[in-house]
């Protein structure tokens, strides 16, 4: 009983604020309250969405951005952690610098990435000064581009250190004994990585991957500042509909945010199940 009493403040806060948000959003997406009320619940907003090729393309772009940035963050993050671990003196300093980006708000990252890799950004200017390129348009268009490369770069800039630090923490906590044992048993570097290090990292990094996916699936400000006008990602689309001067577009905004929520919750559940399985498989 005392257990639940201690948990109740936190759970109530989540239930009321977060649960409330979800219930209200879903309710309004079904036309239950607010503008569009009157005829009782209807799937009108969802039908409109599914019929709208813009929404479908937007969903596709959002999934693409989230999957690619999550995969690359995990791969590069693990690589960075392994690299940092091999560093001797100066590792402490390097690790501190490595995580400098973590607390930097994403808005700033987006502004900075644009100033770096925009067509008239610093890299393009350096190319012009060294005579490599003669005008901004000659620099590859990787901001506001249909492949959302600028958006991906910004995500990697933030999330590679995140995954890297998580991986580093796991590696440090587990020590070198297993790897040493594998080495004395004659395992090659690749075999040690494949059969010792990666399985060790898997549960923790999976958790981190779920966080990265959820985040890159749902951010608004980065695609707004670095992404193409159309198609855009779901969060930007939801905000566009929500702030449309035509209030009738609001149920659609709610429906989009319900879709975002459902996708993220699904990924969390799958990720959580996978993490548990990997921990179990890991157990001796």
């Amino acid at each position: 009983m005392r257990t639940w009493a201690a948990l109740s403040p936190a759970l109530l806060l989540v239930a009321v604020l977060f649960g409330g948000a979800v219930v209200l959003a879903v309710g309004r997406s079904l036309g239950v309250q607010g503008v569009g009320a009157g005829d009782g619940p209807s799937l009108h907003a969802y039908r409109e969405l599914v019929r709208d090729p813009g929404f479908v393309r937007s969903l596709g772009l959002t999934l693409y951005v989230a999957v690619v940035s999550t995969t690359l963050s995990v791969v590069l993050g693990i690589a960075a952690a392994l690299l940092l671990r091999r560093l001797g003196a100066g590792r402490r300093f390097a690790t501190t610098v490595f995580q400098l980006n973590l607390p930097v708000p994403h808005v700033i990252g987006a502004v900075a990435i644009l100033a770096l890799v925009g067509q008239s950004g610093l890299l393009s200017r350096l190319a012009a000064q060294t005579g490599l390129l003669d005008q901004p348009a000659a620099f590859p268009a990787i901001t506001f581009d249909p492949w959302a490369i600028g958006v991906l770069l910004q995500y990697l800039w933030k999330e590679v250190p995140f995954v890297g630090i998580v991986a580093l923490a796991i590696l440090s906590a587990s020590g070198d004994e297993l790897e040493e044992a594998a080495r004395t048993l004659g395992a090659s570097a690749w075999q040690r990585l494949r059969h010792v290090t990666l399985p060790l990292l898997l549960p923790g990094v999976l958790g981190a991957a779920v966080i990265v996916f959820a985040f890159t699936f749902g951010t608004f400000e980065v695609p707004l500042l670095l992404g193409p006008s159309s198609p855009t990602v779901l969060p930007v689309l939801a905000h566009r509909r929500y702030t449309d001067i035509d209030l009738a577009a609001r149920p659609e905004a709610m429906a989009i945010s319900a879709v975002i929520t459902v996708v993220v919750v699904l990924v969390v559940l799958v990720g959580s199940a996978a993490t548990r399985r990997s921990i179990r498989a890991d157990a001796p």
Partner: protein, 419 residues
């Protein structure tokens, strides 16, 4: 611990209780404009929330430093709230009203015009019948349709003019010859084909982008006169079809082959200043001096207008129906019309360069002389006032701008098939 948890339980149950009720106690009493002494008395001690587009640090500073101290003398604290887009503020008011918050709203005074005005009027979200009775309203030429009609919709005392603007284009004299610049939309189309990748425009509903397209529609539909009597669906269908055909045809010649558009005028200015495109826009009648001074535009930038004309309009201050401090809002709306402050605002060296909202003919000779001094000193960073006046066009009816914005987003931005 248990105390903390009890506090949260209390908080939460409180929330639940109030969530089911509504705070509709009827609107605040709206002050009588005729009794100005009473308005001033009501305004004393108020904190005035002025919501305005906050993208220009020069304009922000101007508002803080010019109006702030004047209001402080009247015991009013000015709180300027920067918004990234006026539509956000409009939406905030509509959201408040939708939720039943009909008094003590977040916004006391709103910088607004055009479609945003129309939207708020449709929703009965603005106080009406006050602006023409302000003491300084007698300096305003209310018979001028450009003042009395905001985007074709009668102002009805719901808005008080703050300044005036006229659409202009900007080229860079160090890159483009004066003789080469287009003088009409027809010439611009040719120019775009001849200079692939060197032109784009802000994505509507961003203000400058909408206006750019509206004027193009004017030219294709036989001129602004077509729209003076309001929105004509038939004329729109015909001329917008031509416009969208043309935009489709020009798309591959735009910056980034029309696959993406800058979000707003700031983004277009940045492209222009860095030499990614060759043209940008401005709305400032006194020219781009402030932008050059701030280093956002190169000093070789020069504004110009099409021979076929560009839209001139006014921008206004309006009071939402649920404003908490309507009296203080009126005081500021009145203050900005003072001849001295209108002149300070006109002078780009003070950071703005905004057009006048008052009628020069109603001023004293000395006041006129100061204004002439400012306009004479503008140089080539401004289009001469006579030239601006000669080509000015009336603003479009809000339905036209709204429909055009929506269709552009569907057919051009999102590439949906046209019917």
């Amino acid at each position: 611990m248990s105390r903390a948890s009890r506090a949260v339980v209390l908080l939460v149950s409180g929330l639940l209780a109030v969530a089911c009720s509504s705070t509709d106690d009827g609107p605040d009493a709206f002050p009588e404009v005729g009794d100005w002494a009473q308005v001033l008395a009501d305004a004393e001690g108020a904190t005035l929330d002025l919501h305005m587009w906050g993208g220009s640090s020069e304009i922000n500073r101007f508002v803080d430093e010019v109006y702030g101290p004047r209001l402080a003398e009247l015991d009013i604290t000015l709180r300027r709230v920067p918004v990234a887009d006026t539509a956000d503020a409009v939406n905030a008011v509509l959201g408040e009203l939708e939720a039943g918050r009909t008094r003590d709203g977040a916004i006391d005074l709103l910088w607004i015009n055009g479609e945003n005005h129309a939207t708020m009027r449709q929703a009965d979200a603005l106080h009406t019948g006050w602006s023409e009775s302000l003491p300084n309203a007698e300096l305003v030429d209310w018979d001028d349709p450009a003042v009395a009609l905001d985007a074709g919709l009668p102002v009805d005392g719901a808005e008080s003019p703050w300044g005036s603007a006229q659409f202009q284009l900007v080229y860079d004299a160090s890159r483009t010859e004066r003789a080469e610049i287009p003088t009409s939309y027809a010439e611009l189309a040719t120019w775009i084909r001849d200079n692939p990748g060197r032109f784009t425009y802000p994505a509507p509903p961003a203000f400058h982008g909408s206006r750019f397209l509206t004027q193009w529609l004017y030219e294709l539909s036989g001129g602004a006169e077509t729209w003076t009597d309001g929105f004509d669906a038939q004329a729109y269908e015909a001329s917008s079809a031509t416009l969208f055909d043309l935009l489709e045809e020009l798309r591959p010649h735009l910056w980034r082959a029309g696959a993406t558009y800058p979000n707003d005028i700031a983004a277009l200015d940045r492209l222009f200043a860095n030499g990614e495109v060759d043209l940008t826009f401005t709305q400032l009648p006194a020219g781009i001096g402030a932008g050059v001074e701030a280093g956002t535009l190169p000093d070789s930038a020069r504004p110009f207008v099409f021979d076929t004309g560009t839209i001139r309009d006014h921008h206004y201050l309006a009071i939402p129906v649920n404003a908490g401090e309507p009296a203080a809002a009126m005081v500021l709306a009145n203050l900005v019309l003072a001849p001295e402050l209108q002149t300070v605002k006109l002078d780009p060296t003070n950071g703005w360069g905004d057009g006048l909202a008052i009628d020069v003919a109603r001023l004293t000779a000395e006041e006129r002389a100061v204004i002439d001094e400012v306009t004479d000193g503008l140089g080539e960073l401004a289009v001469p006032p006579a030239r601006l006046a000669a080509v000015r066009l009336p603003d479009a009816p809000p339905e036209l701008t709204d429909t055009l914005d929506r269709d552009w987003q569907r057919f051009i931005r999102d590439g949906r098939p046209r019917p």
